[in-house]
């Protein structure tokens, strides 16, 4: 349902890397011309270029005038260094309206400058304007980098448990599934 972009593995915990000097990113709505750097950023981080996917996201969220849909970018001196996408959804999984963040990423060379925090703050501000008071996301438990980021922002495990199964288990045979 939600997709949060995978990041590189977090650096070894005991490393003493000093935070970089903050570079103030301006957060603004995405523009058509931003798609190219966003596709490139996603391809760099995930190893897969998904141009059609990003085009469809732009049409759905970037070009939408609906306040509950947001596609924001972080701009440093005219260069797109990050993005966040989300929307307000009503009664998703039976829950009252809340904001869902389903993609966030910052260029690897622009990290540790508070850009991810600014992106999240901006989209949360938009969610508040849309009248909701809760934000959720979902991501792979192996994605330690982004998981740690959301934790550092105060997010904690929510009341939902994600479940899945291989589709060959629904043929009625209880032993047909592949337990992982």
């Amino acid at each position: 349902m939600t997709e949060t972009k995978a990041g590189r593995p977090a650096r070894k915990a005991t490393c003493a890397g000093a935070p970089r000097a903050p570079v103030a990113a301006a957060i603004r709505p995405v523009r058509r011309a931003d798609l190219e750097p966003i596709v490139a950023l996603d391809a760099r981080v995930t190893g897969l270029e998904k141009r059609d996917y990003w085009e469809s996201l732009y049409r759905r969220y970037g070009a939408s005038a609906r306040a509950e849909r947001q596609f924001l970018v972080a701009d440093v001196g005219g260069r797109v260094v990050g993005f966040v996408i989300g929307e307000v959804r009503d009664w998703e999984f039976g829950a009252p309206s809340c904001g869902w963040v389903f993609a966030i990423d910052v260029h690897p060379e622009a990290r540790l400058a508070g850009t991810g925090t600014r992106l999240l703050e901006a989209i949360c501000a938009g969610f508040r304007r849309a009248g909701v008071s809760k934000v959720r996301t979902m991501l792979s438990r192996d994605n330690n980098l982004v998981l740690s980021f959301f934790r550092s922002q105060g997010m904690m495990t929510g009341p939902f448990i994600p479940l899945e199964m291989d589709l060959d288990t629904i043929d009625g045979r209880p032993d047909a599934g592949t337990m992982r």
């Binding site: 915990a13 005991t14 935070p19 009252p96 998981l147 934790r151 550092s152 904690m156 009341p159």
Partner: protein, 146 residues
Amino acid sequence: MKLQKNTRLALYSVLEFATDPTRHISAAEIADKYEVSPHHLAKVLSELARAGLVESVRGVGGGYRFAGNARRLTLMDVIEMFEEFATPEEDRREPGERTPVGQALGAVLSEIDEIAKATFRSITLATMLRLLDRQQRGQPLRAKAT
């Protein structure tokens, strides 16, 4: 999830030290605060010092101080120093584990373990200190259920 005594002591200690990295804290002070034996705690602190997470300071006003990076050090990094996280493949010692029921139960327990490990890996000491701060200011740690 229950952590072993040494693991909890290690977590208490690194969080105490990381709260103010400039402050030297004696083992006795931590032992007193958490009501544990100083002798027991000394062994834990020795492990933490060996891993470079704390350093001992000798002399008057000495003790230990934090030497790690609170924004990078996760709960899992500390826990792994004191707990064995054997994968199901590596740990087949439980009676009945190879039976169909044992294997099904093992799959469920493995799910729980994976979620616990992911949680520990995702929480840095800096995040824990923020949680602690919120708790001390009387703010709820968890979101309201909906």
